[in-house]
Symmetry: C2
Subunit: 443 residues, 2 copies
């Protein structure tokens, strides 16, 4: 079968554009409305997407005056969506810095069981002091320490997910033996960040363990991805940067002794679709006209660690911004924003307009043909195995994509026509079911 696109629908209340909630069509209470998310999930399933994707951080971001804040916790929301859908994968973001491996491993395994093998975990280390202060820490742990903890977290979680062999349950009613105790493997883990003694209290799930997704593009992030990730969600502004990132990551996967086909690279894109180019530009402009620029200035000053009042709307960024090395928060996002502004010589106002749509992800604006062309170009020129689709406005942007871009992609043989039989998320991504680490060595 020819190589086909992997599409994920990144869901976010009224859409990824920060001003989307202000449009007449938008429901400003959508962020807590299950029916809204069920509607979105069903549109994505109509478009035969591989998965849904939800971001997360355990803190209230910024101020509530600015835009919809707060959200249903992703694993909870995706569990509800599992019952409303049949085929689509369910990728929840959860933090290794602010969870316990035992609690998180069993929640994700429970979702994998309930959904029939459709769970994915987007592994994040969670930047920012706000989150740290919600969990007893005075300040954000250093970037490298967060990644060291993440690696140990993964090792423990993988042991927990393997702690029941697939055939541990014998269910012999006649003799009264339900399970085979020799097929239960307590991790007995004693490490730097975690001590976890006992086996998980959930049997091994349909996928063995959930699809492992990762999103950081810093050096630490790429090293982590090469070792563990099965899909990487990334922000890339140009084809060239995306190709470089793709080639770099695949070669790191090979160096880690893994098959490069077993890690899928999915840039995020914000499609803004019109029946003509003019209509698409008008849709972009309408959103930009609804941006409150003072919020954008405050957000950029926070990202750049500058005092309030430093940035001026109609001038370019100052020349003496801190280097990425001095940033302990979201390193790769920092660099992406600075490079975008410098490369295109954007004023602060223009930068805010560019970031408003996808917070650094690329906007593909145009007709359905043009959007499909751009997707095909990135896909065939070694920049992507698929995309995380981030509609600027929801639900209408997802509807437009599925009704107008998806048929073109299908006609070109780039996307499945239908789901066919039920499959696990890992199978949809063309990945094998992992062997159990406690039995693999015995074979």
């Amino acid at each position: 079968m020819p190589r086909q696109l992997h599409l994920s629908a990144f869901l976010m209340n009224t859409g990824h554009h920060e001003a989307s909630w202000r449009l007449a069509e938008s429901d400003p209470f959508a962020h807590v409305d299950l029916a809204h998310y069920v509607h979105l999930a069903r549109i994505a399933e109509r478009g035969t997407f591989d998965s849904l994707f939800l971001a997360d951080g355990p803190q209230l971001w910024g101020t509530v005056s600015q835009r919809p804040a707060g959200a249903l916790e992703p694993l909870t929301l995706l569990t509800a969506l599992a019952t409303a859908t049949e085929h689509i994968g369910l990728i929840a973001t959860a933090s290794t810095s602010y969870n316990s491996p035992y609690n998180l491993a069993r929640k994700v395994a429970s979702l994998d069981i309930i959904s029939g093998g459709r769970a994915g975990w987007n592994i994040v280390t969670t930047a920012g002091a706000e989150a740290a202060r919600n969990f007893g820490l005075a300040a954000e742990p250093a970037h490298a320490e967060r990644y060291a903890r993440a690696a140990e977290f993964l090792d423990v979680a993988l042991k927990l997910w393997d702690s029941w062999e697939d055939d541990a349950i014998v269910a012999d009613k006649a003799s009264g033996v339900w399970g085979d105790d020799t097929k239960i493997h307590p991790p007995r883990h004693q490490g730097t960040y975690f001590s976890v003694e006992g086996a998980l209290n959930v049997p091994r799930s349909p996928q063995g363990y959930p699809l492992l997704v990762q999103a950081g593009s810093s050096e630490d992030g790429k090293a982590f991805a090469a070792r563990y990730a099965e899909a990487v969600f990334t922000a890339q502004q140009t084809l060239k940067d995306a190709q470089d990132f793709y080639a770099d990551l695949k070669s790191r996967v090979v160096q880690a002794g893994r098959d490069p086909e077993h890690l899928k690279v999915l840039p995020g894109i914000v499609p803004v679709i019109g029946s003509t180019e003019t209509e698409a530009r008008a849709a972009e402009q309408e959103l930009e006209d609804h941006i409150v620029h003072e919020h954008g200035v405050a957000n950029l000053e926070r990202l750049f660690q500058l005092p309030a009042g430093t940035l001026k709307l109609d001038t370019e960024l100052p020349a003496d911004l801190p280097s990425e090395d001095s940033i302990e928060g979201a390193k790769s996002r920092y660099t992406l924003v600075v490079e975008l502004a410098r490369r295109e010589r954007l004023t602060v106002r223009q930068l805010i307009g560019r970031l408003g749509g996808g917070r650094g992800h690329l906007t593909f604006a145009g007709t359905p043909e043009q959007v499909a062309d751009a997707i095909e170009r990135w896909f065939t020129l070694g920049a992507a195995d698929g995309f995380n689709i981030m509609p600027a406005v929801l639900p209408s942007g997802l509807d437009l994509f599925v009704d107008h871009v998806v048929p073109i992609l299908r006609a070109r043989g780039l996307l499945r026509e239908e789901y066919g039989p039920r499959r696990t998320l890992r199978e949809r991504y063309g990945l094998p079911r992992p062997a159990n680490q406690y039995t693999a060595t015995l074979v």
Copy 2:
């Protein structure tokens, strides 16, 4: 309206009797089968129960050879059941010793929103070293310390649930103001066990906060219940003991300055129903015949902290068991089992038979009339505001109860005929929606 029963359905894989999985009718894989739980939830809703109840502990209990082990994580399972039901409350057990307040508060609030105000939290401190060792501790924290942490956990959770005022979202599209920052109240909590700075990232939920349920009957447990609980699930073997517990707890609630009607006492009962007494006894006997007694001996030795091989099947318990004071684990369960054995002079074999059905909860075996009589007696004689129904075998035991006992209770005016309009779980229990602590003082 006359006082009516509050019924909860305590769901557990193939039933509460430890040997239930061995019956021909039982599915030994029911513990991970969403369809099984959806079926049970719908039976309970047909019986107009107030709520479903799920137990939990973050560890694998005992050995898997013995009986079905492992389970879907309760908040995850109840979220899936929320979408399959319309009226029934959803009470999840979760530990204050092995969770972070921020994570747990947002998950429970998310379930409350998704279910339209039907979430409940059974607050447990989690006995046992097995759980402790899954969370980086070498040994179980002392009983009193677990309760001290639980009290602080509740204070933080209540602040988080109140951190958004009910009208914090203004959604003013014209001016671009989504929320009112003055109506967000970060806890800024600095305590003995927790430091939690920021507001929750979920708005205030339909119930304000979930129904607070508690189950420990030790001194610490009762003190905690008097202060926080809105429903108490308890194990009582005799009418007299249940009346004493009921009166004691209600008076403690009054002493804590609360309305005694705002705490409901719900003993657990195991109904074993037959169309004749003989049939009910035969059903009990069939279950008892399926018990593997060596497992029961090992479990009792663990509860009593005795070396393996101490207990003999056909003799009574030794006279020199440790006192409750020396038990740091499940104190009230320990005392209940010892007292039951002593009071009825049971041999170890007989004790195992009695505990097999409900782990210390009372079995009401008989015809539907007899079971209804027992329920009515406890309800009218000051021993209970309702019951947590724990069928020995599932789903058949819940079906029998709903088809044969529920109609008798309805005919006697003790149970609602239908749900009527949608209500929150707190409304079903006759409890007011709590005021927000940050606005209540301003009124």
